[in-house]
């Protein structure tokens, strides 16, 4: 399970640190520079592959994932590239068809949680007084409660557990960490001169939040969105794995559920659970890489340095070369 790795130190771009002294780049070049970061580029490329599979997966799947066959628990072969289950179902088809559910739930839950986090985090950071404190306390409370357990409880008392419901439940419980990070950022931003100036000229609060604060929070929001998608994907798979959500809809967790409950381990049927787990790990890694890309884009200090021929370790001494 991925842990949120973002620390709470404000990483709002400090103009002196984030821009190289030479050539103040225009918008288009900045975007290109983001892609020039190999981590971000790799992450995006892998994500694009998964996105494509989510769209075309059900069409290119060689079999109906639920159709039973005659080869029971058979290893990989020409007919079944990734082997079959206890009912002779084709595991490759299950993986391909299940991709859509994983991507949809991940993105939808990510959007819901991020919208909630922006609403709650930015408001509680900008508004002083009782409202801000209450919203902050609310996110702190949900931060310490074990979220996965809460999701399991809610999902198990729901009668309807299709992808949409699961995504909404995960989204509704996954916002606190992002809200906390955004609040910390907003607290530091609202002291900046340009925000003070906007306030002094009498701009309405919604305009200050929408046009002065939010644009400067874009990178943080993007990073939090990516992190939340990772969390949502892992939660969805965990829910399917313990059998809370419906086991009739295919996703990678459902495959693992059947592998576990049908004793795939005892039968040595590694092809049953290895591919699904690898798919999760690759998707998670791609999202994490994308996040590193965003982090390093915003905070150049975090970039890996490779200076040939020099002993690295005296990091401060290298500070000039880093830029």
């Amino acid at each position: 399970m991925a842990l949120p790795t973002a620390d709470l130190t404000p990483i709002v771009p400090d103009p002196a640190a984030s821009l190289p002294p030479a050539a103040p780049p225009g918008r288009g070049r900045r975007r290109l520079r983001f892609l020039a970061n190999w981590k971000a580029a790799t992450g995006l490329a892998v994500l694009a592959c998964f996105g494509l599979l989510a769209v075309i997966g059900p069409w290119i799947a060689p079999y109906d994932p639920s159709a039973r066959g005659n080869d029971l628990v058979a290893g990989p072969s020409a007919a079944h590239w990734l082997g079959t289950t206890h009912l002779g179902q084709d595991i490759l088809s299950q993986l391909l068809v299940g991709t859509r559910s994983v991507i949809v739930v991940g993105l939808l839950a990510g959007v819901v949680a991020t919208v909630l986090a922006v609403l709650i985090g930015v408001t509680s950071g900008y508004l002083t007084g009782v409202v801000g404190e209450i919203l902050s306390a609310l996110s702190n409370v949900f931060l310490v409660i074990p979220v996965l357990l809460l999701v399991i409880i809610i999902a198990s008392i729901l009668t309807e557990t299709d992808d949409l419901t699961i995504a909404l439940v995960i989204g509704a419980t996954a916002w606190p960490w992002s809200a906390r990070v955004l609040r910390a950022q907003t607290l530091s931003l609202r002291q900046r001169d340009y925000v003070e100036a906007a306030r002094a000229t009498g701009e309405p609060t919604w305009r200050i939040i929408g046009f002065e604060l939010l644009p400067n929070l874009t990178a943080v929001i993007a990073a939090r969105f990516v992190d939340t998608v990772v969390f949502a994907v892992l939660s969805e798979i965990a829910l399917a794995f313990i059998g809370v959500s419906g086991v009739s809809e295919w996703n990678w967790g459902t495959i693992l559920f059947w592998a576990q409950s049908q004793q795939a381990l005892a039968q040595g049927a590694w092809w049953w659970f290895v591919p699904a787990g690898l798919a999760i790990a690759v998707l998670g890694t791609a999202l994490a890489l994308l996040n590193f890309g965003i982090d390093e884009f915003v905070n150049p200090r975090l970039r890996s340095v490779t200076v040939p021929g020099m002993r690295v370790g005296f990091t401060p001494v290298l500070r000039e070369e880093e830029r």
Partner: protein, 326 residues
Amino acid sequence: MSFLLRRLAFYLFTAWAAVTINFLLPRMMPGDPVLSLISRAQGQLDTDAIRSLYILFGLDEEKSFLRQYVEYLGQLLSGDLGLSFTFFPTPVAAVIGDSLPWTLALVGFTTVLSFLLGTGLGVLAGWRRGSWVELILPVTTFLASIPYFWLGLIAITLLAGQGGAFPASGGFDPGVVPAWDWEFIGSAIHHTLLPAATILVTSMAGWVLSMRNMMVTVSAEDYITVAHAKGLPERRVMLSYAARNALLPNVSGFALQLGLIVGGTLLVEIVFSYPGVGFQLFQAVGAKDYPLLQGIFLIVTLSVLAANLLADLVYLLLDPRTRREG
């Protein structure tokens, strides 16, 4: 002192919030699965047990909402969490009491160890940027993306089962009687090694990454340059100057990530059929055992809160300024 009091008040508030969520959830639930379970077990349940389930799940329609809430709190305070349907007719409190020590031992040990190891690796990775230690980063990223429970499945396939060095399931050997003797403890440790290693490997990654980033930030500070200029040994600068200051955010992060780690650990227990809370959760989900589910949620949340309080005490020791974080 005021720091601690404030934290204590916050945890009490959070505990109250968790209890209230537990109270509200079944009352918002469509349909009455609990009622049907009760009527199915009608012959075996005595009137007291039925009454307690009615209070827990809000089946007393004629009583006012506030009245229900007060009765619910009263019942929780007396330690009554209802009866488990899976382990009928054992009370939920007794069922969880059996499994909680296993989970506490597993989670407590692995979490502390993974924090120490991960932070240590993070210090190295952040200090020696650009060297081979940087290779840790992609590896840990990959490991952090793996679900705990899946790595458990892999570990069982590779290391346990027939001819393997480790047992694949259970908390102790079938022939051993649980008691405080060496035979039992040895057997329990032997069964715990593999799940513990699984959790360790996946949960460590988060600490490595956050500590690495903090080290990078700290090592650009002026006092590090001064320490270098004074000609202090590099080791000393790394540990006493950089790492010591970089550690604080990681410690306050420790408390916040505990909830997530506990969630992952519960799933590992399922894979290993480890006799802890997670495995009971699995059985409770399968059997739609709502009293047990709710009891587990409550007890685990309270345990996490207690652990948070411990982490706060450590923070108090490490940072005399005890500023509020956030």
